[in-house]
Symmetry: C2
Subunit: 342 residues, 2 copies
Amino acid sequence: MEPAARPGPDPSPVLVFDTMLAYERTAALKAAIDLNLFRAIGDGPGDVASLAQKCSASKRGLRILCDYLTIMGFLYKVEDGYRHTPTSAAFLDPRSPACIAPISRFLGSPLMTEPFKHLADIVRTGRTSLPGAGSVEPENAAWVDFAHSMAPMMAPMAGPLSGIVLNGLSGPVRVLDIAAGHGLFGIEIAKQHDSAQIVAVDWAPVLEVAKANARTAGVMHRFTTVVGSAFDVDYGGPYDIVLLTNFLHHFDPATCIRLLRKVHAALKPSGRAAALEFVPNEDRISPPMAAGFSLVMLATTEAGDAYTFQELRTMYLEAGFERVNAYPVPNGPHSVVMGDAR
Amino acid sequence: MEPAARPGPDPSPVLVFDTMLAYERTAALKAAIDLNLFRAIGDGPGDVASLAQKCSASKRGLRILCDYLTIMGFLYKVEDGYRHTPTSAAFLDPRSPACIAPISRFLGSPLMTEPFKHLADIVRTGRTSLPGAGSVEPENAAWVDFAHSMAPMMAPMAGPLSGIVLNGLSGPVRVLDIAAGHGLFGIEIAKQHDSAQIVAVDWAPVLEVAKANARTAGVMHRFTTVVGSAFDVDYGGPYDIVLLTNFLHHFDPATCIRLLRKVHAALKPSGRAAALEFVPNEDRISPPMAAGFSLVMLATTEAGDAYTFQELRTMYLEAGFERVNAYPVPNGPHSVVMGDAR
């Protein structure tokens, strides 16, 4: 007897098989990036012999990898070889300003991949298999790597975030950037607003990455740092804007509320706290990328989650904020959730 | 400057991000199978608390895993919990006769997953990172696991394969099943044809699995075995039919031709050699599952491949066969390529 099922698309063993082998997709894309294949494709010519030579690879290996990438939509196959698709040209060729290939380093790092080897155990216990607080364990060196390698993915969101938090403000603004990482969000505000002063909080080695980025952007004279955990350090202030980017999802709601109260105390009246987050719909299964992010938080933290807007709003209100609203970031899976201090 | 690209769908960073995290999909499905979640879903009720109790799991972990499986299409979310989709009911619930969940054991085994950790190196060298001949190294214990765990996926093909090779034959038939594994293909012929005698060749521990299956099918009195490598043992014969299921793809064309010559010598005049294979189209990028199988052969063998029909036909002709044709197996990615001995 077959078990009863909801109506839906026809049953598909291919979906099962594909999913069981999905790790091959990650491996193929990572191999192509590691071999610098997408630069070789952009340079041309795209025949197997030329590509194999440029990538110091075997012809057999190169041909099979390129066919596989073509099946996945990352290359286009023509009579005499391979060409970029629009996706690989824009996001995988290192000559493209939008290239996000470096994020494979962080997404493929042991911090991310190790827990997924023990996912059944993690579902049993309800917390990461990583020691202590998991990915947010103090001084976790992975965040230096994150600051370096995830910057290309975060950079396109800095403009929209900056526009949202500066909207309607004039005169000098003081900005606290909590868990600043690469620092790009505060730096973008400094670039958009001549009299903005940025204070970035993070662990010392991570702040070195942020300071290097601030120097490159020419805003180092308005960029200072506070070394330590966002939960422990003195924020100074008061501030007009506090940024909490990709941070709240690592913690349970009680911890988020505690942090938001500390943020509230560091804000001027009517100052703004802005969280950049994956915000799934209330059904928790859409949109796919924001909702699917919960699994990363299950695997890598003690009690984090991708929170819905209602959950985040409740946290803000409990911490003393008012007028809490969500602003989707265009062309990406993130939203800005912003509340005003009283 | 952005590199030039072929026209195609709009560029998508989501495809890049999804692929870099595709290993999460494999991990989530494997965790659900390991936790026996799909049986619990079939049993109902599907609320988080009941499922967590049945799977000895935490509510947080269970809820996040079920949401993720819903996003992937393996569950359906309703007001009070989760239900099967047609795919999970048919192929993942152990109470379904078509359940293929056990294949995750072989597809997730170190034999399969280890080489994908070194895929860039494999593309460089053009051969598996596994020692020796890779997956076909003599007495590789993984094939016992394969014989057990892949049987549910192969079983639906046994009927169509049997129909193709028996078509037009009458009277007693002698069948040689090379690299028999679970033995299901020869066993099905014995079931369909009362006077068929089956001789199965494989390594000794693998043949134990085949013999157990032959006993269960009630055909053991017409089922004998030859222990050893298909390249070394004396086949006996002559035979009416030789099966080469999921075997040729492990070897280079010269080795395949050598084996096919040996097969030819063991066949009666007009006897048939039938290979069950992933056969990509001549473009080598379609259909996706057959074409994508080349990557598994790159990763796990010295020189294997998913061969096109023209390549297989050439091998058969070189080995002395004539009338070589391909017969797609319905509802699956495999084809039967059959040639007649002269």
